[in-house]
């Protein structure tokens, strides 16, 4: 456990994130220019999609892949109901805001997933390439549950819902992630070799700078935060712990290796701060972005990167240890 924590905190990717947090807290003028941050996020999505696609072209689509996909989609759909119940009771949020926040906690954060993949790979527990597809599949179901919770089952048939669904399924991260995944599958390893100097050599470096930027954004939003109460802050820590452990157990339960189970746990633990806020802005404009963005981006995201990924990884190793499943050492 301690060893895992030390590994997390010696990873340059995580340290750059910490640097971003610190820089913002001391009010440094450090900033990554917006177009560069945007370009880095596109590069990361393309690289992740490609790598996942290539891995699946090697391993093929088998029962494990299908069951991981189904588990991810079901979890994505159900997690918001759990979150909603807690937000409404302990969090004392109204119905609209509870639904909006719940959607964030069912959906996923690509950056958390990538950081987890880096950390897990460093611990010889690399998740299967198909987890990228699971991640893409988990992006949208929670938005649907969140809207049902906020609006009631019958109340979502207005014009803005169509616009919102279009936004969700055509948003740049989904299109690029899935597009690159298919390209990776079609091209296979031979095709990847041609482009790997660009997508592989630069990957970790770009991820470092991108996380530096995310650290800056997360901390600056935390400094400006006003609408988040201590109860909501506690929920933003509690949900990723519970969801993460449940997701990991689910992964082990359906027979995934330790790395992939941990990755599923991280996906369940992570909260969206890109796709879902954009969708909520269109579909639930009455909900307060100051609540959902601050919770998911400024509390849950740093908590996951700094602490929870290590916990989930150790838990996955522990569970696969007792069930006698593959330890994930590749």
């Amino acid at each position: 456990m301690l060893e895992t924590a030390i590994q997390t905190f010696t990873s340059p990717v995580v340290l750059f994130f910490v640097l971003g947090l610190l820089a913002a807290f001391v009010r440094s003028d450090l900033a990554i220019p917006e177009p560069i941050a945007k370009a880095m996020s596109l590069y990361l999505m393309a690289a992740i999609g490609l790598k996942g696609g290539v891995a699946v072209s090697k391993s093929g689509i088998d029962a494990t892949v299908i069951s991981a996909l189904v588990a991810g989609i079901v979890a994505g759909f159900l997690l918001p109901f759990f979150a909603y119940a807690i937000l409404k009771t302990f969090g004392k949020l109204d119905r609209i805001n509870s639904g909006a926040v719940a959607a964030h906690y069912g959906s996923i954060s690509v950056v958390t997933f990538v950081t987890a993949t880096e950390i897990l790979t460093g611990q010889a527990r690399e998740p299967g390439g198909y987890m990228v597809a699971v991640m893409a599949a988990m992006e949208a179901p929670a938005i649907l549950s969140g809207l049902i919770l906020a609006r009631g089952a019958g109340g979502s048939g207005n014009q803005s819902t169509g616009e919102m669904l279009h936004e969700v399924f055509t948003n740049s991260s989904i299109v690029l992630l899935l597009g690159a995944f298919v390209i990776g599958m079609v091209g296979g390893e031979a095709g990847f070799d041609e482009v790997s100097p660009f997508f592989e050599a630069g990957f970790k470096g770009v991820l470092c700078i991108f996380l530096l930027d995310m650290g800056l954004i997360a901390a600056r939003r935390m400094i400006d935060a006003r609408s988040v109460t201590w109860r909501l802050a506690a929920i933003a820590i509690f949900l990723p712990i519970v969801n993460g452990l449940a997701g990991t157990a689910l992964g082990v339960g359906i027979g995934l290796d330790a790395g992939s189970s941990a990755a599923l746990g991280v996906l369940c633990a992570s909260a969206s701060y890109i796709a879902v806020p954009a969708a909520m802005r269109l579909a639930l404009p009455e909900a307060d972005p100051g609540i959902y963005l601050t919770m998911s981006l400024s509390i849950t995201f740093p908590f996951n990167v700094l602490i929870n990924i290590g916990v989930i990884s150790a838990f996955a190793a522990f569970l696969t240890g007792i069930t006698g499943a593959d330890g994930g050492v590749r």
Binding site: E34, A37, I217, D224, Y273
Partner: protein, 103 residues
Amino acid sequence: MIETVTRKRIEILTDKALQKRVTDAIEKAGIIGWTILPVSSGKGREGVWREESVMGTDKVFVLTIASEENAQALAEALAPMLTNFGFLLSMWDVQVIRGERFT
């Protein structure tokens, strides 16, 4: 002395994600042209915001010039969205050359 006419210049601050709703409303109000300007940061009733295109929280200014009548039609069409989406709408009189181009 060149001849000028009075028109309304309308300025709308909106989320980039909602830009299309605004430009659709402009065209529906019978106004031909509009211009989008990027903005970088600001502060409003809900606190400070910054251009964060990675998360899609960036905003834009939509500018348009219209006749008094169409400007009122546009303001009415956008009024219900102002509170919900935190738009900012302001308009004022400006002098334009070639007034027939601004309906």
